[in-house]
Assembly symmetry: C2
Homo-oligomer: 230 residues x 2
Amino acid sequence: MCESSGQTHAVVLLSGGLDSATALAWASKQQGWQCHTLAFDYGQRHKVELAASARIAQFFGVEDHRIIAVDLSVIGGSALTSDMAVPKDEAGSHCIPITYVPARNLVFLSLAAGLAETVGAEKIVIGANVVDYSGYPDCRQNFLDAFQVTARLGTKAGVQGCKLEVVAPLIELDKAEIIELGLSLGTDYSLTHSCYDPDAQGRPCGHCDSCTYRLAGFAKTGIKDPLQYA
Amino acid sequence: MCESSGQTHAVVLLSGGLDSATALAWASKQQGWQCHTLAFDYGQRHKVELAASARIAQFFGVEDHRIIAVDLSVIGGSALTSDMAVPKDEAGSHCIPITYVPARNLVFLSLAAGLAETVGAEKIVIGANVVDYSGYPDCRQNFLDAFQVTARLGTKAGVQGCKLEVVAPLIELDKAEIIELGLSLGTDYSLTHSCYDPDAQGRPCGHCDSCTYRLAGFAKTGIKDPLQYA
């Protein structure tokens, strides 16, 4: 099914953050793949990222942008889907941060595998990278490799010979390298949202782990982050 | 985390059908595991199975029964989540039936892995079996084995040493053997729902693949199916 057309189709996980926007730029502009973007309404407190995701998809001319509602708050266990406080100014100090959402990438990749099957995509693109690697187990290459094996075995497309591939183009890049890659491909980072704990106007806090890594990345490149911080 | 208490905890996928009810009977009554049951509101046309799932959980004294909403109709590609007609009187005639939902068990197992992590369960129990094996790729042992490897790599619990195990106690049983196992453990099959295409009163059609396999299983045991068919 996925090999029937000349054009390579890809499902791109697009949270609306800096990493996923860059991954989409890479897939659509550098690889020339026909991209189907996928965002998740999963009970996250920073739901404003869904609007960012739609803006970025539109910016890159994606015609097939979908949002799947999956209520991970039923599972609980994370500061991102519960009333637990989001840690501030503690980036790098945790072994696995409490912003880790149990099995989140496993769930997201599984839904991406389902969509890949229905749209005939042979690639799943995820913006997992080395910075998150230090904390989140589901951002590591060995997990992504194992997932790829599992998805081929557990889907009709895979059983029928489609070599579904999970691609993480940013996995070995740090935040500054990701930003430089994205800018070289024309990414407009003013459209993105990274903060776990935005204010009522949707402005980033500047102090959660995600803001901290983002700001440090921009600082290292010497380029100003186009976002307005609270 | 999952080894901290003397009691073994299990997340049991409980769709409300014959297989999952039997899998729960096996886990709770035969193994004596503390069961956390999980059902999914995934856009299925046979949503009546959710009520069956809750009834069965209550019947077996499960205190932690959860329903996760995940809208698989956004993915499409299945007669169970779209307007495609459910095939009648065609059981066994398809290679992979159109009632196959892309990556469904992959998604369900992923959500179960997330819940296993938050409740400290070291087992995930799924009612996959040999009859479905013939059609659905995500009911096979090699898929379940690969998923187990992936879930250990992609979760905090797994990385911290929890040997999460995916258990499919019915995998080598046919429908008649499943029914006999369930009855020996006191399962009340009048509480279950198997039909993909029930009528407005929730009564099973008797002709879809799921009804056909169920009725053939009861016929082979010589026991009457307690359900009232339309």
